[in-house]
């Protein structure tokens, strides 16, 4: 699943939004999700998240994740249905002795929990698939004044995860080809058996880090004032959307305080 949740390049209206707007959207969805516990509200919220995913054209790629989440949602629903025993009893799971009641409220609150879980997770997944990591980090640099060097360090680390994994495979293949066995059932032995892989890997990484530093030097890194190709400023749509989200959240909080959306 980890491999599935990465940036997907599309030219959609959602992709064109500023990273900050999308962060706000994900956080507000989290807020909405936690405010209400009425299943109708939460299902509507889930539908809105799916709609955003569809307009970002990432729904297709997220389908495997969604089906995986559905399994968890079902489990959550079942647990809630089994252990929530207040309210109007529909039927008993163990008939005759009238044990383990299944109630209407239990089913509905299970539905609400499942919808809430899916909404919150999906909203962040949509945010991550529709926003380039660089843009997220650069926005953080710009808006929250994180020094560029640290942001750059983080981005470079991300960039080198795939090549690091390649090296892990390369080294462990090489050691296995020389007759070193990796694995076994005993966890301590397993950890110990990784030593001949780890040592060359660390040396390789140090060497690579040095090469990267050289490549950066020869491309003028730290040459003084930096410019940035990508615009991290917020546009009109971004401001409008953020304002709308804030307004929506404020009015929902008021509605919630007045007793709407609670079961």
């Amino acid at each position: 699943m980890a491999a599935l949740v990465e940036y997907i390049h599309e030219d959609s209206p959602v992709h064109r939004l500023n990273a900050l707007t999308k962060i706000f959207w994900a956080l507000f969805t989290l807020g909405f999700g936690l405010l209400f516990n009425d299943y109708r509200y939460l299902l509507a919220l889930l539908a809105s998240v799916l709609l955003v995913a569809a307009s970002a054209r990432v729904l297709q790629s997220l389908l495997p994740v969604i089906s995986g989440l559905t399994v968890f949602a079902m489990i959550l629903f079942l647990i809630q249905a089994l252990f929530y025993n207040q309210g109007q009893v529909l039927f008993y799971l163990i008939p005759g002795v009238d044990r383990v009641p299944v109630t209407v409220q239990g089913l509905l609150s299970g539905l609400a929990m499942a919808a809430r879980m899916m909404t919150i997770i999906l909203s962040f997944l949509v945010f991550l698939t529709a926003t380039r990591t660089q843009d997220i980090v650069l926005t953080l640099v710009e808006k929250f004044k994180i020094p560029y060097d640290y942001a750059f360090m983080f981005l470079t680390a991300l960039r080198f995860i795939p090549s690091f994994l390649n090296e892990v495979k390369m080294v462990s293949d090489a050691q296995q080809a020389r007759g070193h066995s990796i694995g076994g059932i005993n966890p301590f032995k397993k950890i110990k058996s990784y030593a001949p892989v780890t040592i060359p890997l660390v040396l390789l990484s140090i060497n690579k880090a040095e090469n990267i530093a050289m490549a950066m030097e020869t491309r003028g890194y730290c040459g003084g004032n930096r410019t940035c190709l990508r615009d991290t400023r917020m546009g009109r749509t971004d401001y409008l959307l953020t304002a709308a989200l804030i307004l929506l959240l404020a009015s929902s909080a008021t509605a919630r305080a007045a007793g709407y959306g609670v079961m």
């Binding site: 090469n211 950066m216 020869t218 491309r219 890194y221 040459g223 940035c228 190709l229």
Partner: protein, 280 residues
């Protein structure tokens, strides 16, 4: 016009008795295509590090002599200043691509030098066009082939608009097709855009075809510095040093060359060479 003048350059790495470079003297002319070759440990990479400022700014050691870059002493310039004139491409395609996508990678150099975004945009388009990878602009760098990665590294170096492109064994991890790709790009940059090329390369076949001057290093010293035809006709010296002689040149050397049948360096030239000999 001389762009780069190396005078009596000597360098020793720390904790090493033998100097890595001994009394090197070279002058690189604007618009030239210089190939530097030699056996492993001859000091080729060390020389490259001296030319792009890695030595002395990144790698310390005992440095003697002088390098003059367009009238300034190279050792007093910072790496960022040097990078405006000398663009570098290294051996390992993976360890010189810094960004996660192609566009950002090419933008990295100009961004560091404070080029305005609109101009960076133009430079990206130009650099990707020159290296023939315009179609890859939106791709993540991890999915590129070795040859594409090295072309991207060249594009990234070009985006700084350097006068000199310095390449340290850019094709050593590439297959023959990838190697040819790189040399075609370099040839185009040299002939059509007047970019001075300095390339360190073990593949003498390609050097013989494309370079207009070959410098042979051995044990830190220049042992030959001449036109490829002159260099590859001294085949005994090359063999003693351990430099591979291009196949066609080796064959012609065995047959024997004279003024009417000069040493061939490419397959086409070898074709004519053999025709002339057979007609005799």
């Amino acid at each position: 016009m001389t762009l780069l003048k190396i005078e009596n350059l000597t360098f020793s790495y720390p904790q090493s008795i033998q100097p890595a470079l001994k009394n090197i003297n070279l002058a690189i002319k604007k618009g030239s295509f210089t190939g530097i070759t030699g056996p492993t440990g001859a000091g080729k990479s060390t020389l490259a590090y001296c030319l792009n400022g890695i030595i002395p700014h990144f790698q310390g050691g005992k440095l003697g002599g002088q390098i003059n870059l367009r009238g300034d002493s190279l050792f007093t310039l910072g790496t960022a200043q040097i990078s405006r004139v000398v663009g570098s491409v290294f051996q390992d395609p993976d360890a010189q691509i810094i960004s996660a996508d192609v566009e950002q990678e090419v933008a990295f150099g100009p961004e560091n030098l404070g080029v305005p975004p609109e101009e960076i945009e133009q430079r990206i388009a130009e650099a990707l066009y020159l290296t023939g990878i315009s179609g890859l602009r939106r791709r993540p760098t991890t999915v590129l082939s070795g040859g594409q990665k090295q072309r991207l590294a060249i594009a990234a170096a070009l985006a700084v608009l350097p006068e000199i492109l310095l390449l340290d064994e850019p094709t050593s991890e590439l297959d023959p097709a990838g190697t040819e790709e790189i040399f075609q790009v370099l040839k185009k940059l040299n002939r059509e855009h007047g970019i001075t090329i300095i390339i360190i390369e073990q593949k003498t076949e390609q050097l013989a075809t494309h370079a207009d001057r070959i410098v042979v290093l051995n044990e830190g010293a220049v042992v030959m510095d001449d036109h490829p035809r002159q260099v590859f006709s001294k085949q005994q010296t090359l063999e003693a040093v351990g430099v591979r002689i291009p196949q066609v040149a080796g064959l012609a050397g065995m047959i024997g060359v004279n003024d009417r049948t000069p040493l061939p360096l490419t397959v086409e030239q070898a074709h004519r060479f053999i025709e002339r000999i057979l007609r005799r």
